[in-house]
């Protein structure tokens, strides 16, 4: 082509032809490229459509949990014992903060930030994406919220987030009944996961002790969820689907907070525990364990120093003595032993025993003593209870034998959990041959039967077990399950519905035997010789009761121990069980005063509790009518 030299016109025509050829070629290439592109788009939009559609949804749709409001807890008159209070949290969105250290520095001048807050924030910040809010301070007080509101514009990326937290208005007063919630930790989350309840891991609180723990499944409700469309900054734009949360059930306790308060005051600063039960229902009217603690400390995560202080306190404020504590019941066991003898036909109310001050088993040198030197003389059932005559019960125990004792006293619930709606209840010990064999791999000795007759030796009971058994005496021999929660409701617009309780067991079948024992218990308070006669004096109603002493140190031979002279931690525990009014009992109590010495100390506490209860106006208000 190069060698051919065309003329002007020919050259032009040749160039035009050449151009057309090249243009045609270019057109074909462009067409081919666009067809290839169309096919490539077809592959993305048809063959791979499913995959990309999924990724597009994953981009924009976020599944958010909806937190249910935790159920409320009321007392029997509708007074709130645990509620959900609005609180404010300080969150920071790192992405929107230009200079984080400077911001923390400035915020520190407006709100109180301690090293704990900063460390937790730093850890959480590293674990989350930059556009996600990270909590800096769990609880802002009102002054801090106000200061933040003024300076809001100076702090981009700082958010004050409202949420619901748990509040116990009565603080320490309900610590051992209502218990407390805490923030779920890694172990809790693992446990939820193992139970297939991972959906609950988003809840801010988890019941740790008391009612909060035992009734967790009712109180927490059901977590809901919603699918939220978000933009690239993860901001929610609209709700696509919503499955509402179901709020937790509200609980009504049998507890009367006024009596609870009176019970604490009745101890007059002494340590110990007391349970009050309504005999006809088994409802717990009051339950105190002293000293106590403020459960509100635990809600937002208790500071380590506070926890250490409570946990290492020798007075054990975290320990609920009513269900966890165990001690020998001492003489408070005597009415039950008497009933066992009467019902077994081994004794009659008229049967008498001569108390000389010391009791000996045939052929044995060891003496088992009465508390009064020289003894009580010849006594029948009523006086044996009124004066707490040990010899009477040594004789009776030998008649019953250890097998009779373990068989006949088991019906009152000794040696087994009462079934109260609290976790970790102690069983105590009902002594028996089998128990001793299993525990010590030793046979039973007759002398052990003797001291078992006065509630010493291997016996271990909890205040709740004693109160329950005493309530059975008050309710014509019917043993009930003691319980804190009497009714529940599914929502504030629903009526309270009673929780069904197991039917009571008729554990005393002979009304005459019961009446004889009651006469002895009344004589203990109102008789001239009664061990608790000082506590029975001047009462406008009649009380039936029995004092007792749980020994911390055993008697050494003949030496008598003056409890009041022992160091505090070695003094005996003072015990009292009783009920009132005798004619139609409305309350049964068990009281233990730590290091109280004589049982009369516990009787005095019980008297103050009875007086308070009798003085309370019976205002039963439904919880929905009570002002919050």
């Amino acid at each position: 082509m190069n060698r051919w030299r065309p003329g002007p016109l020919g050259r032009s025509a040749d160039e035009a032809t050449q151009f057309r050829r090249r243009a045609l070629l270019a057109g074909i290439v462009v067409t081919a490229l666009l067809v290839a592109l169309a096919l490539g788009y077809g592959r993305l939009q048809i063959l791979l459509h499913e995959e990309y559609a999924t990724r597009s949804d994953e981009n924009r749709i976020r599944l958010e949990p909806i937190i249910p409001a935790r159920g409320l807890v009321f007392d029997r008159n509708g007074v709130l014992l645990a509620d959900n209070a609005p609180a404010y949290r300080l969150d920071i969105v790192p992405e929107r903060v230009p200079d984080l250290p400077a911001l923390l520095d400035e915020l520190g001048r407006i709100v109180a930030l301690d090293a704990n807050d900063l460390a937790r924030f730093e850890a959480a910040r590293r674990a989350s994406r930059r556009f996600q809010p990270v909590p800096l301070k769990a609880r802002l007080d009102e002054a801090e919220i106000a200061r933040l509101a003024i300076d809001r514009h100076r702090f981009p990326g700082v958010e004050v987030v409202p949420y619901l937290t748990r509040r116990y208005p009565f603080g320490a007063l309900t610590a051992h009944v209502v218990g407390y919630v805490g923030r779920p930790d890694a172990d809790d989350l693992a446990a939820l996961e193992a139970r297939g309840e991972r959906r609950f891991s988003v809840l801010p609180h988890l019941g740790r002790t008391g009612i909060e723990r035992y009734h967790e499944a009712r109180l927490r409700g059901e977590v809901g969820h919603q699918a939220v469309e978000t933009n690239v900054e993860n901001r929610p734009l609209r709700v696509l689907r919503r499955h509402d949360a179901r709020p937790g059930q509200d609980l009504q306790l049998g507890l009367d907070i006024r009596l609870q308060q009176a019970m604490v005051e009745a101890f007059q600063g002494q340590y110990g525990a007391a349970v009050a039960i309504e005999p006809t229902t088994g409802e717990i009217l009051g339950m105190v364990s002293l000293p106590a603690f403020d459960p509100n400390l635990f809600v937002g995560g208790i500071p380590v120093a506070d926890f250490r202080r409570l946990n290492e306190d020798p007075a054990r404020p975290l320990f609920n003595r009513n269900v966890l504590g165990g001690f020998p019941p001492g003489s408070t066991l005597k009415p039950f032993l008497a009933l066992a003898g009467l019902e077994a036909g081994l004794i009659t109310p008229q049967w008498t025993v001569l108390s000389t001050g010391a009791f000996r088993l045939p052929g044995q040198a060891r003496e088992y003593r009465d508390w009064r030197p020289g003894g009580h003389g010849r006594v029948a059932l009523v006086e044996s209870l009124a004066q707490s005559v040990n010899t009477y019960y040594f004789e009776l125990a030998m008649k019953l034998g250890i097998d009779g004792i373990s068989r006949d006293l088991a019906v009152y619930g000794f040696g087994q959990p009462t079934g109260i709606d609290l976790r970790g209840e102690s069983s105590g010990v009902l002594p028996s041959r089998a128990w001793k064999q299993a525990r010590f791999r030793q046979p039973w000795f007759p002398g052990e039967t003797v001291i078992a007759g006065i509630g010493q030796g291997y016996w271990v009971t909890t205040p709740l077990q004693l109160a329950r058994a005493t309530a059975a005496l008050a309710d014509d021999g019917r043993l009930r399950r003691p319980h804190l929660v009497r009714a529940v409701r599914a929502g504030f617009d629903q009526p309270m519905q009673a929780l069904p309780q197991p039917a009571p067991q008729q554990v005393v079948r002979d009304p005459a035997a019961l009446a004889a024992v009651e006469a002895g218990l009344v004589a203990a308070l109102h008789g001239p010789t009664g061990t608790a006669r000082l506590s029975g004096e001047g009462a406008a109603y009649r009380i039936a009761g029995k004092t007792g002493t749980a020994q911390r140190v055993g008697r050494q031979g003949d030496a008598r121990i003056d409890s009041a002279r022992l160091p505090l931690h070695l003094r005996h525990q003072a015990l009292f069980v009783g009920y009132a009014p005798v004619e139609q009992p409305s309350i049964a109590v068990a009281v233990i005063v730590e290091h109280g010495g004589s049982g009369a100390v516990a009787a005095a506490v019980a008297r103050r509790i009875f007086d308070a209860w009798m003085a309370l106006p019976p205002t039963a208000v439904a919880p929905d009518e009570a002002a919050p």
Binding site: A23, L37, G42, Q45, E233
Partner: protein
Amino acid sequence: MSGLLRWLTALAGRLLDRVDGPLLAGLLAIMAASLLVQASAADGELRAVLAQGVRFAVGLVALLILSRLSPTFLREWTPLAYLGSLGLIGLVFLFGQGRSADLWLDLGVFYLQPGELLKLSVPMMAAWFLHQARLPPGWRSLALCAVIIGLPVALTILQPDLGTGLLVGASGVFVVFLAGIAWWRIALFAGIGLAALPVAWQFLMPYQKDRVLTFLDPESDPLGAGWNIIQSKIAIGSGGIDGKGWGQGTQAQLDFLPEHTTDFVFSVFAEEFGWIGVLVLLGLYLFVTLRGLWLAAQARDTYSRLLAGALTLTFSVYVVVNAGMVAGFLPVVGVPMPLLSYGGTSAVSLLAGFGIVMAAGAHRRRWGG
């Protein structure tokens, strides 16, 4: 009244008589699609749509004016236009140094991107030169063409604006190709070009290297450099056959897809109108390209032919590169989708270019045999 109307009709007829109907229809259809997708992306904020409409109007005026210029007139002014635009790029180069995004000259009224002018003036200059040279071009002509094309390309890439530089270069190379450069010479240049690739790599800016590496493996850095291309593919793929519907493209509406009004607008279009929409739009682009090449082939003189053909082919390069880039078939280079993307001088210079194409086709029919 009727006299005024008649005068207006006559005026319109005279203005439009050099305009190629089918080509204009194709361009208007693409512009309509652009306004549609920009309105969707604007989400009620109509100022952006209006601005795009104004740009189209300016471009159409430029198209009408240029379609009426005689090729001879255009050819006579070519060297001046070329030197003028070269001078502007030099200004940007001097004043824009150190700021990679500053490729604009503030003209008071609007910003002018001198790179866009080069897309017209470089093929004009190459065509002007080859119009006088013996064809097919020999070594001497090719060497001069290399200077005419290479100088502005080098200045543009150094700005640095790789996308525009490549398009300017392409527009010049197309002139040479259409002028009938021998195949063995093409093969030789292609060989030299391939061999020079590793050297050219050394001269790329770090972000340009990133783009190429990201293209090779976008998932290696899904939240960083790969984000755009991954989100763009998600937008396209999730559109399916018939799309999510106008204004319903979640990828764009929820801001997952960056640059969704400019370089990645075709992804939005594909998300909202699906594969069917993609076929229609690519069909329109193909039609415009083929019609432009046909018009170029009708031109009377070498200058018009080469220029019109090169401008049309450059237009198709935009389409192929942009559509390939947003779908992840090609590395990301800053090339907009012609007329669809939101942008200033690109739309105006493209429409102006088609005015030249129409002038070339019309003058053939008018004065040709």
